[in-house]
């Protein structure tokens, strides 16, 4: 049977796109919530700890410029 590398790369590429897309969606939602929290002056919740929004969490390291 031929190796069908194009199918292999298509499968891995598609998975990377879906997982990366979901990762970015969570990171964007996190930034939106942080903005809302800052906007409300932390009335309902204690402000984010120093370094929390710019943490070393892999999901928040790839934010678009």
């Amino acid at each position: 049977m031929p190796d069908n590398w194009s199918f292999v790369f298509a499968a891995y590429g598609l998975a990377a796109l879906v997982l990366g897309g979901y990762w970015r969606r969570l990171a964007r939602r996190e930034r939106e919530l942080a903005t809302r929290e800052r906007g409300s002056g932390g009335a309902r919740r204690a402000p984010a700890r120093r370094g929390e929004s710019g943490s070393a969490d892999p999901a928040t390291m790839t934010r678009p410029s």
Partner: protein, 202 residues
């Protein structure tokens, strides 16, 4: 919680890197299917993860969402693997059909949650739908035993020893661990975000 989530994220990244090395660098070319069999290291780990949708409301919500992401990868990669090996992108086989039904039920679960504004009502209705969706899980697992299917029976979750080569099992196991870590990371992050959403939007 944040520290644990961060650790999970980095462990998942390391696991995925190790999984890729095992899948493409260490595991040998499969004798019958050739290199297209390497899709297995992605396809199989993605399907084991929908079993996580259970527990408290936020955990159930997050697990269902992450489960939909991984099941979509499983269905898509299954189709990509099916074309060169079976000669068809899709067939109404019992396993494929039962997974699709489960996928649609979990999509409905997320839609239901999004449609109902009252959080307590949404949680109650979603819990009922979640139970119905969970009933489909054994159906998916046993479908390959109960009906004659094109899809193969389980290779790892079966009584007795597996017929797979040890190196293929090792590559698959590492990818299973990596995907489990990644799903745990996503669920932990989503649970924390749901909690913050409820606090901010309350």
């Amino acid at each position: 919680m944040k520290r644990l989530q961060r650790a999970l994220g980095w462990l998942a990244v390391a696991g995925l890197a190790a999984g890729l090395v095992m899948a493409f660098g260490v595991a040998p070319r499969e004798a019958t299917q050739g290199n297209v069999q390497r899709i297995m290291y992605l396809h199989v780990p993605a399907i084991y993860l929908w079993r996580r949708a259970a527990g408290a409301d936020r955990l159930a919500h997050a697990s269902a969402e992450v489960g939909v992401v991984f099941t979509s990868i499983n269905i898509a990669t299954g189709a990509i693997w099916g074309k060169p090996t079976w000669g068809a992108w899709w067939t109404w086989d019992a396993r494929l059909t039962s997974v699709s039904i489960m996928f649609v039920i979990y999509l409905a679960y997320l839609l239901l949650r999004a449609m109902i504004e009252d959080r307590e009502r949404a949680a109650r209705f979603a819990a009922v739908l979640g139970i119905i969706a969970a009933l489909d899980i054994p159906l998916v697992h046993f479908s390959v035993y109960w009906w004659r299917t094109l899809h193969q029976p389980p290779t790892l979750l079966r009584p007795g020893s597996t017929p797979m080569d040890a190196m293929l099992v090792a590559a698959l196991t590492i990818n299973l661990i990596a995907f489990t870590l990644l799903s745990a990371y996503f669920v932990a992050k989503r649970v924390r975000l749901l909690k913050r959403e409820q606090e901010v939007l309350a």
